[in-house]
């Protein structure tokens, strides 16, 4: 099966009309692959899919959930967390409050990683954590904070790398027990985030394309990692504009390991490693 540009156009237009989701500025190639995957999984042709979307708003919602990608993990890309630990977060050490927005939080691992790191830096009390995603299913998963243990066993390596070790000083070793933050049940194969972490963040459904800033606040730190790769150049710039507008001066924007700001908004940020600091 091949999804043509017209097919994609048809699909995106339908979704926009029916479900108010605007995928028109998403990356064509990625969206095509996701659409193809959905069609294959549901064993439908495009016509059938469109008909179902039109008839059933729940179905449309599910399709949106299917199409979005929710890859995340605890302390994903440890170098970024090192950067946060050594060069970004210390900037806010003297703030009274630290507002953090995880835009596209997926299943919440990044949110809890951030909170663990903040806690280790004694900054959690000051922090206000906001987390948003387009997909309500992953938001529910985020709120629960229960993950598969075996499948995500690499989490603990990342935890060790970020929390226990310091790449700038190999002799440093913080023996933080996992039990401080997780309940690991090998029988049930679950790793559960402790309650004091899960009850703190504010999780909301949010569409970066349409919704602007949901919260009546500006942010010291915005994390939007591995999200803009699914957007085209124009939408990326819109999102950068949104972030820029809602960052405090000297506020930080953190993108994914391989994401960079190019174009008009690049010179409105100063780059510290992977982090962009609003000028």
């Amino acid at each position: 099966m091949i999804v043509t540009d017209q097919d994609l156009q048809y699909f995106v237009t339908t979704l926009k009309n029916v479900a108010k989701y605007d995928f028109s500025e998403y990356s064509d190639k990625s969206l095509k692959r996701r659409l193809l995957k959905v069609l294959t999984d549901l064993n439908l042709d495009l016509g059938g899919l469109i008909t179902n979307i039109k008839q059933d708003s729940c179905f449309a919602e599910n399709i949106v959930k299917e199409i979005t990608v929710n890859t995340t993990e605890l302390f994903r890309d440890p170098p970024i967390w090192h950067l946060l630990r050594s060069r970004v977060l210390p900037r806010f050490k003297n703030n009274k409050t630290i507002n953090i927005w995880h835009a596209g939080c997926s299943t919440g691992q990044e949110v809890y990683s951030m909170m663990i790191l903040l806690n280790e830096m004694d900054m959690l009390d000051k922090a206000k954590i906001f987390a948003t995603d387009l997909n309500t299913d992953v938001l529910d998963a985020s709120k629960k904070g229960v993950y598969k243990y075996r499948f995500n066993i690499g989490y603990l390596d990342n935890f060790d790398k970020v929390i226990k070790q310091n790449p700038l000083n190999f002799e440093e070793y913080n023996d933080v027990p996992y039990e401080k933050y997780f309940d690991i049940d090998k029988l049930k194969d679950t790793i559960t985030i402790k309650k004091f972490l899960t009850e703190k963040p504010i999780f909301r459904k949010h569409d970066l394309v349409n919704d602007g800033n949901l919260f009546f606040a500006k942010f010291d730190l915005i994390l939007c990692r591995n999200v803009i790769i699914y957007f085209n150049y124009s939408l990326q710039n819109k999102v950068f504009e949104l972030f820029h507008a809602n960052l405090y001066p000297k506020g930080c924007l953190l993108l994914g390991m391989h994401e960079t700001i190019l174009g008009p908004w690049a010179n409105k940020f100063e780059k510290i490693g992977q982090a962009y600091v609003k000028k």
Binding site: S27, K29, S30, R33, R34, K37, V69, N70, T71, P79, K148, F151, P167, N226, I228, I229, Y230, Y233, G256, H258, E259, T260, L262, G273
Partner: protein
């Protein structure tokens, strides 16, 4: 005969014997009579012979006297002799000639004898004899006996004929006597027989009745008869028989009443019935004991079978819930056995290091007690039972039983039964039952049997549970696999998207670097400041080749004034900050150059510098211009100060203007038009004087409303053209409003911007009918206004 057969014996005897006796008597009487008759007749014949002899002698004598033959003399002499009858009244002797004619007879002389007699006489050929004949005389039939003797001398027959009845007359008297004797004898016989037979027959009747009853199976009374004769013996025998039968019947009754020990003796060796009865009793006794045994066995078997069926039901009902099953089983088992306590242990080998028996359900004193108890294999009685796989039955339980790990708590029962739950040598658990009474072998056997059923159910339940677990596990694994697959796919998607994004970025970067290469001065720098990889632009600027430039130190080119300052800048760059400023260079030809440069370090992921980029733009020209402009700026600044003063003045004037305009607004008709002729503003005075609605007029074209435009279009066209060219236009017109002639003088003033374009047209009209004389003054005022606006 048949009839007689049905008569009773008495009557039969009478019926047969009396006629026989009568006939016998009659026969003997008749024969006596007959013999007598014969004798009488014989004696009569003899007498007749004798008589005829005498007569013949007489005749002889006469003959002798008279001469030959019968002659008269004979007749006369003999006549008197023949007139006399001989013995009876009618027996007269006679003489017959050969023709049978009586020649001498007392009264029948001349008559003839019956011809039949004559016939017989002639055929007899004897000279003497007897002939019996029948004489039919006077219609009477007379039996006659004729005796004759032939007399040779005469040649005639001397005869005498006697009527037999006369001869037999004496006999008829005897006949009556005889009949009487016969009758009497018969009567005597009848009486005798009756007297003798009656009691015997009565007895026979009784005997018959008894035997009849006996034959019908009844038990008759004894017959009372005490004579020691044949009948007496029969009666005795019958009485004995009745007695015996009664006795045996009683005995049989007793047996029937199941009194097998009733007293009974056989009469003798030949008492078949008695022996049979005894044998029967023996057999019954034997059968009874057998029956008793069998019944016991049956009861046990029934108990066991019912129990097994019941437990079968229980086991079937709850075979998906192990705990409930165990509860039901142990509760029912304890109740069924009338025991007091019970526990069901299940074998748990999930943890191979600690195989143990787990108390799944306990039942004690009709109340369930739940307590998790685990007994290791081989530990205590229950553990031992599981190891040995043999039933343990303890009848003596030590007082400190509680100390023995039995798992049943504190009561000390008197009997303890532990049965392993096994199926083909595989152990599934154990049942422990305690009771205050001993367990029978059958009960133990029963529990063992139930144990097998329970084992088999446990086995299947375990299998079911295991299967379900496996099923769930595989389901879960499948779901996990699916989840993992989806996650992998998402990861893939993200990688792909990232790669695409990076490809796009790198394309962009390439374009950028290409354009940089084209437009800017570009090189990279080592940490010591030496140039690497310069582009053509920078080489051209420096009037040398790229190769010549490679390796040169950047500081070489910096103007001596700035060299000292650059050292500090370089140190900053090396510590990570970006330098951005205009540099003053001197090329090899000593030309001064101004370069707008940025020097920025690039860090690797560990934060250490791996490259320093130099980007620059030749701003020499603009720098020179800038210097020039700087001077101009100073001048401008000067004039700005002046302007400021002027502006303050303007502000003052503006205030004045505002006041003036207010006055104007109250006195003049003001209309504002845009260059296209649309009325953008009209003041209240205007509508006051000329009428119309402010809201309606605003936004309309003047050409639609204007009096001149409607009536003299050519003139209006000219008028508008002039205005559009920026020429001020005056005009006057009169209108009749509400009967009053109103003369309006209008001045249209186009407002022109710095580019010479008309941006606005202001019309100020005066009601010159009242203030015409002020017209000139106003015009002057407008002229002044215009100059003010221009200045502003």
């Amino acid at each position: 005969m048949k009839y007689t057969q049905n008569l009773n014996l008495n009557k039969q005897i009478l019926l047969f014997t009396i006629p026989i006796v009568v006939i016998l008597y009659a026969a003997s009487g008749f024969s006596v009579y007959h013999l007598a008759k014969k004798r009488v007749l014989l004696s009569a014949q003899k007498e007749m012979e004798v008589y005829l002899g005498k007569m013949s002698e007489t005749i002889q004598l006469v003959e002798n006297q008279t001469g030959l033959g019968f002659n008269n003399s004979d007749y006369l002499v003999l006549k008197p002799f023949f007139n006399q009858n001989a013995f009876y009244k009618t027996d007269f002797p006679f003489i017959l000639d050969n023709s049978g004619q009586y020649i001498l007879h007392a009264y029948k002389e001349g008559q003839r004898i019956p011809s039949s007699l004559l016939q017989q006489l002639k055929t007899s050929h004897s000279k003497q004899g007897f002939i019996s004949y029948t004489d039919y005389k006077d219609g009477n039939k007379l039996d006659m006996l004729f005796s004759y003797k032939y007399i040779d001398s005469y040649g005639t027959y001397l005869g005498i004929s006697v009527n037999k009845s006369e001869i037999l007359e004496s006999l008829s008297q005897n006949k009556l006597v005889l009949i009487f004797v016969v009758l009497f004898a018969s009567l005597v016989f009848y009486l005798t027989i009756t007297i003798i037979l009656k009691p015997v027959i009565q007895l026979l009747k009784e005997i018959t009745e008894s035997v009849k009853k006996l034959s019908k199976g009844d038990s008759p009374n004894k017959i009372d008869f005490n004579q020691n004769n044949e009948i007496g013996q029969i009666v005795e025998s019958i009485n004995d028989l009745i007695d015996n039968l009664k006795h045996k019947a009683d005995f049989a009754n007793e047996i029937g009443k199941n009194n097998l020990d009733a007293n009974f003796k056989v009469i003798g060796d030949q008492d078949i019935l008695g022996t049979s009865l005894l044998n029967m009793r023996q057999s019954l006794k034997l059968a009874n004991t057998e029956e008793g045994k069998r019944k016991k066995e049956d009861d046990l078997r029934n108990w066991s079978t019912a129990g097994i069926a019941m437990f079968g039901d229980i086991l079937r009902q709850n075979n998906n819930n192990l705990a409930k099953l165990a509860d039901n089983v142990i509760q029912n088992l304890v109740n069924y056995l009338d025991a007091n306590q019970g526990g069901l242990f299940i074998y748990n080998d999930e943890d191979p290091e600690y195989k143990h028996l787990e108390l799944l359900s306990a039942f004690a004193y009709n109340r369930k007690k739940f307590f998790e108890k685990r007994i290791a294999i081989g530990e205590g009685l229950v553990g031992t039972c599981a190891v040995e796989k043999e039933t343990i039955h303890l009848k003596e339980i030590p007082a400190d039983y509680i100390r023995i790990t039995s798992g049943l708590g504190e009561a000390v029962p008197t009997s303890l039964l532990i049965v392993p739950l096994k199926l083909e040598e595989a152990i599934f658990g154990a049942i422990e039952i305690a009771s205050f009474s001993d367990f029978k072998d059958s009960e133990i056997e029963f529990v063992e049997k139930i144990g097998i059923s329970i084992s088999s159910t446990l086995s299947s339940v375990k299998n079911n549970i295991r299967t379900n677990q496996l099923l769930e596990q595989s389901q879960q694994q499948r779901e996990e696999m699916a989840a993992q697959e989806e996650e992998m796919r998402q990861n893939m998607e993200e990688m792909q998207a990232t790669q695409e994004e990076m490809a796009r970025k790198s394309l962009e970067m390439e374009g950028m670097s290409a354009s940089i290469n084209e437009a800017l001065l570009y090189c990279e720098l080592n940490e010591d400041g030496s140039i690497i990889n310069p582009n053509n632009n920078i080489a051209a600027l420096m009037s040398c080749t790229r190769q010549e430039l490679e390796g040169e130190s950047l500081t070489e080119f910096i103007h001596s004034d700035e060299k000292g300052m650059f050292k500090g800048t370089w140190a900053d760059v090396l510590s990570g900050s970006t330098f951005k400023s205009t540099m003053h260079w001197v090329d090899k030809n000593s030309n001064e150059l101004y370069i707008l440069a940025s020097i920025s370090p690039a860090f690797d992921e560990f934060g250490s510098i791996f490259k320093i980029y130099f980007l620059g733009q030749d701003v020499t020209e603009s720098k020179k211009l800038e210097i020039r402009a700087h001077k101009q700026a100073e001048e401008i600044e000067q004039s700005l100060l002046e302007i400021q003063v002027e502006q303050e003045l303007n502000l003052q004037r503006e205030d004045e203007m505002k006041a003036l305009l207010l006055v104007l607004d109250h006195t003049c008709l003001i209309t504002e038009l845009d260059p296209a002729g649309v009325i953008t503003y009209i003041n209240n005075k205007n509508t006051e004087v000329l009428g119309g609605d402010k809201d309606e007029i605003e936004g309309k074209l003047i050409s639609e409303l204007d009096f001149v435009a409607k009536n003299r279009p050519k003139e209006f066209k000219k008028f508008w053209e002039n205005l559009s060219k920026g020429l001020k236009q005056d005009r006057e017109f009169s209108l009749n409003i509400d009967g009053n002639e109103v003369t309006i003088s209008e001045v249209y003033t186009p407002i022109i911007n710095e580019h010479g374009q008309v941006t606005k047209i202001i019309n100020i009209g005066f009601d010159i009918s009242e203030i015409k004389r002020k017209e000139k003054e106003m015009a002057a005022l407008i002229a002044e206004l215009e100059t003010l606006r221009k200045k502003k």
